[in-house]
Structure formats: C-alpha cells, structure tokens
Symmetry: C2
Subunit: 229 residues, 2 copies
C-alpha cells in the first residue's frame, strides 16, 4: 500500500518527475495516503486546499454544479495525474469539485512541500507549467467543440476520448464505465438526449452495450461523424 515516492511509477506521468532525490524525500515524508470510495468527494467547490492530490488509482471527475442541478464535468483525472494544483498555485478557492468516479487511492501532498520546491527548482516549476499549458489547450478545444459541434458529434467524440485515454477490456468494452448521466455531463447535454444518441449509435452499429458497459465497434464510423461525415 504505502510506499516511497522515489519508487512510485505514477510519478513518471506528472511534474514530480522533475524533482531531485532530496525533494522527493521531502514529498515522501510529508505525504499522506488516502482512499476515497466511489461517489465520495475529494473536495467541494469553493474549498481552500492545503495541498494537492496525486492519483495512484481510480478516476476522479472535476465538475461544477449549477443552480438548476446540472453538473458539468470539466475534466477526468486518472492515474498519475495531479488534482488541485491550479487552486494551490493561484492561492484561490477551488472553482470545481472533485468526486471519485470509482474507488480511488491518492496521495495528499501538503502545499508547503510543493511551493518550497517551486521556489527552488525551476525545472519542476517549468514542468508544472507545461502540464498546465496542456490542460489549457484541452480546455480551449472543449470550448470550441461546445459551440461548433452538435451533441451527437460530441457524444461520439466522448467515446473516442474514453477509449484513447482509459483503454478497453479484452472483450472490447471501454475500461472506464461512466453512468449515462456522467457521459451527458461530460458532453454538456441532457441525460435523455445522451441515452437516445447511444441507442441510435447502437442501431447504426457504432457501439455495443451490456448493462451500463459500452464498447466501440466502429471507431472509424464515430470518427467520421465527429468530422461531419
């Protein structure tokens, strides 16, 4: 279960790989290990964070709830990704809440450890910056998609995204199973609309389902749809 950050594989995927041995030791000594059950929150919108979360296992959704009950998912964070760094860096309250989509294991690293390293090690800061630049690009792309693509295209794109980022099982179902509601909240549409489109995709031979599990049959077909045939 618990282990030293120096030996943690997960670290390879995030900015912590730019840390030197001494800095990693400091992280290792100050971190705490946590498990979060499916459905539980890592933090709520508006909270002040005392540190960041490094995901060792499981998936978290970052979302914002509106007055009318809609919960827009802005990002899905998985193994190796870091959650909460935006808030810690800007020294602001969180603008999103983080919820476990399935059971999670995370390491909590106190913000002092992070900020100390950022003031001393420019390579680390630069690495964090690169990751944030990537996140910003993705966010820009989402904005553009929301205004230029139809719901159907965005749903199709969401499945391709899930396949590319989370992979599929041996029996060709998506490894990450989201509820229809969560898919709708990623896409930014109503749950019923999302369900209807999934049914249509099934009829057209793009997808297969088994309970709430979904598998991609015709990736090319979905891709064509995204690109407007």
């Amino acid at each position: 279960m618990e282990s030293r950050c120096e030996n943690c594989i997960v670290r390879q995927f995030n900015a912590l790989r730019a840390m030197n041995k001494e800095e990693l030791k400091q992280v290792s000594d100050s971190k705490t290990y946590k498990t979060i059950k499916k459905g539980e929150a890592l933090f709520e919108e508006g909270e002040k964070l005392d540190g960041i979360y490094c995901v060792r296992n499981g998936v978290s959704k970052l979302s914002k709830l509106s007055a009318n009950g809609k919960d827009q998912i802005v990002k899905l964070a998985t193994k190796g990704e870091v959650i909460g760094q935006r808030s810690v860096i800007a020294e602001e309250h969180t603008n999103l809440r983080a919820t476990a989509v399935n059971d999670m294991e995370v390491c909590f690293i106190p913000k002092e450890t992070i900020t100390n390293t950022m003031h001393k090690n420019p390579n680390f800061t630069l690495e964090v910056l690169r990751h944030m630049a990537h996140d910003l690009k993705e966010a820009d792309d989402v904005i553009v998609n929301m205004s230029q693509k139809t719901v159907k295209q965005r749903v199709a794109e969401a499945f391709l995204y899930l396949k590319n980022n989370f992979g599929e099982t041996e029996d060709a179902f998506l490894s990450l199973t989201l509820s229809r509601e969560d898919i709708a909240n990623v896409v930014g549409t109503a749950t019923e609309s999302c369900i209807r489109i999934i049914s249509e995709f099934k009829k057209k031979g793009y997808l297969k389902t088994s309970g709430k599990k979904i598998g991609i049959i015709d990736e090319k077909g979905l891709q064509n749809l995204v690109n407007g045939f």
Copy 2:
C-alpha cells in the same frame, strides 16, 4: 514609440514584472516592436511561434475557425497581456489564431529570451504559472457557462465582461466596440440570434446602441438575467 522594457508600464500587468534588471535588459535588447492593423493576424492557427507577443495597445481576439465557417473566440487579450506563451511553453504549434480587433502595438520577444529566464529565475516561471492558472480557471468557467446558461444569459454576461475588462467612454458606451458577429463568436451563437437579443435588451431598457456602439443602461438588470432572475 520604442522604449526600454525597464520603463514600460504595461509590464506591471504580466509576468515580466518578476524579472530582474539584467533579465529585463535582455528582453529589451532582443525585442522588436510591431504594429498590426485592425483585421490583420498576429499569427494563424497551426503556426509555430518563435516568441511571444506583449500587447502595448489595442485588442486581439484568439479564435478557432471551424469547417462550417464559425469562428469561436476563446479569449480577448488587451494591454499588458501576453499572447502565444502557451504555444512557446508547450513547444507546440498554436491551437488558435490571433487577430487584431483594432489597431495594435505589440512587442515581440524571442522565445530564447523567455526560456532562458524560465530556467534561471523560478519567480518568473512561477509568475507565468500563476497567469496560466488564471487563464485555465477562466476557460473552465466558459465551458460551464456554455453548457449551463442560455444564449440570452451568455450575451448579457458578455456585455458585463466587456464593461468590467475594457471600461466605458464618458457617454457610457462600451470602450471596446465589437461587431455583432464578434460578440456572437465570443458567446458561441449565430450572429442573427445575437442581434435579436441585443434588440430585445434595447427594448427592455438594458442597453442602448448608436451604430455599432453599445452601452449598458441597466447593469443590475443584466446581472439578474445572468443569475436567472
């Protein structure tokens, strides 16, 4: 016209304020001054940038053109803001194009100058990081608004945004005059829809217009609309 960065007021608004005298001198010596006419592009989508642009005057829109001709505006950058840093930091081609909304004066700073400083001065890197964290938050907010608010609410919000970020003239018109098409492209809607809503807001006494100039009469009213009455 031309001047030393050390004395440039604009610098106070961006990450360059975290540079020391020596670093600023380097920027000053390597920068080039450019003017861009209204409608001209600073760079096109997909270009590789050799440096960043620091806006001294005027406003630039960062947008992405879709196949069907829609041009979604993701950000408006004005005096003091830096354009192109995301692309330079991530060492990627630009994902957006930058166009002058009105006549602009900018300083072009070669990327070597920036990356040199980033490797040496953690405070500068951290300051860049803070700005990017802020941009990311704004982008997240836009995503959420796009999915949770109606076009009418988003148009109302756009006018409040324009007032807060660009101010108004003595006769209470917005200082930044955008075409109806540009407003529509900020909001992510059709130009006709945008025009219709402006007409409606005029009738309801929220706005006044004079040619393409627009002024806010009832800020509270617009704000209520944004919040769903």
